[in-house]
Symmetry: none
Subunit: 253 residues, 2 copies
């Protein structure tokens, strides 16, 4: 992707192995591989984490375990604390998106960075938040703002990945080319001719001009591709064929 | 939040109750409450879903179950299909962020929208993708791009929630409304029926299914308004009338 240093994901006192495994998966989904654990409740390695990580076990194999948060972040230059409810601490609070932009900023190119996530039950302690330079807070429905540990990792990783991603936000999957005006005219003239041949406009002759104009406007507006014009030509061909007898139909296999 | 209609989250043939529950939580985290299930494998209601949903069981209580995807989206105007690997379909592909901006756009203010998510094992079928207007594809590490169903719902919900702040206060003047899926299906079924009655597919019977799917994809993609559907119904009516004799034509003034 880029040559920006990836942030370390630091889980402080994680309780459930499943969540560590799910966090590892979420990390690898967005190209993050530096997982650090501070005093995991059930020790390390953890079978449930491995089972849950599935193919992301590569992240778990390189996971480092530390006795305390200070040790886990000792080599880092800038540390974020994720918390849903920033308390009476005077620190910069960023959304995951703003933090991701900051992490990707040229000024941080050679900085070693990390993001702290607290334990499932109570989140980060005041002491852990105090160790961080700034806070990441995920915007959530205020009436239902509890998210799973791995989901918090997922959202932060997603934003980090997005901040570098040069995928165009919208693409039309398409080797096709738009229909040109000649093709559109040809299609439209055919519709008009076929409708005329069938006397379609006879009961509404006065409105024929307006109706045709509206139809032409519609076809212009639809943004047809060249293949769409061909599809419509096929449909017109089919619709203007003679109805087959039922008996003929029954002859078919 | 805003008065924009929230998108329905439609899980097509979800396999594990746990994932339905986790999806409900992810939805409520971002204020989404319209959950629809198409043929859930283990039936409905589902104890595992309820256990996993925790306080988001309010979402499950209002969940509606449908027999097929068509029924689940019948009342919707614009449907997205989430898929990691858009195949040879000509549809617009958006990131969750771009789709969220679109969902929040003033033009969609009164549109009923929904987002399809496929089953855990294989995602959405080609047929389900064909029913959608456009595709949402989550940018992921290409070397590890499998994400859990609930996580996909989480990311899409997150972006929808995030996009709320960017909603411009300006409204687009539009008295028209987009065609809903029932109207489109009705139109499309009529085309298929009329083509069948004329033996259009007989020489190309093996390709009939693919041709119909391509046609359906095309009609989905065109973004027809309700009035466009009426115009097409008129065109079909005209094209399927019997050709009049030349002599009769000459009788006209």
């Amino acid at each position: 992707m880029t040559d920006v240093t990836m942030p370390a994901i630091i889980l402080v006192e994680p309780q459930m192995g499943e969540n560590i495994g799910a966090a590892a998966r979420a990390m690898l989904n967005f190209g993050l591989t530096d997982l650090r654990l501070v005093a995991p409740r059930d020790g390390w390695p953890n079978d449930r984490a491995i089972a849950m990580a599935s193919r992301a076990d590569i992240v778990l194999e390189n996971t480092r375990v530390f006795g305390c948060t200070e040790d886990a972040i000792a080599d880092l230059n800038h540390v974020y604390a994720t918390t849903a409810r920033p308390r009476d601490v005077i620190k910069k609070i960023s959304t995951p998106r703003a933090a991701a932009a900051e992490l990707r900023a040229p000024a941080n190119k050679s900085a070693a960075t990390g993001i702290l996530f607290g334990k499932e039950s109570v989140g980060l302690s005041r002491e852990d938040v105090a160790l961080a330079d700034s806070i990441i807070s995920v915007p959530l429905n205020p009436d239902f703002s509890s998210i799973n540990l791995a989901q918090a990792v997922l959202l932060v990783g997603y934003e980090w990945f997005q901040a570098a991603d040069d995928t165009p936000p919208v693409q039309v999957h398409n080797e096709e080319r738009p229909a040109n005006k000649a093709e559109l005219s040809h299609l439209f003239d055919r519709i008009e001719r076929e409708l005329d041949a069938r006397g379609y406009f006879e009961p509404i002759l006065q409105r024929k001009h307006v109706i045709l104009q509206n139809m032409r406007n519609m076809f212009q507006r639809l943004g047809l591709m060249e293949s769409d014009v061909r599809a419509f030509q096929g449909i017109i061909k089919g619709l203007t064929m003679k109805v087959k007898n039922k008996t003929n139909d029954n002859d078919q296999p």
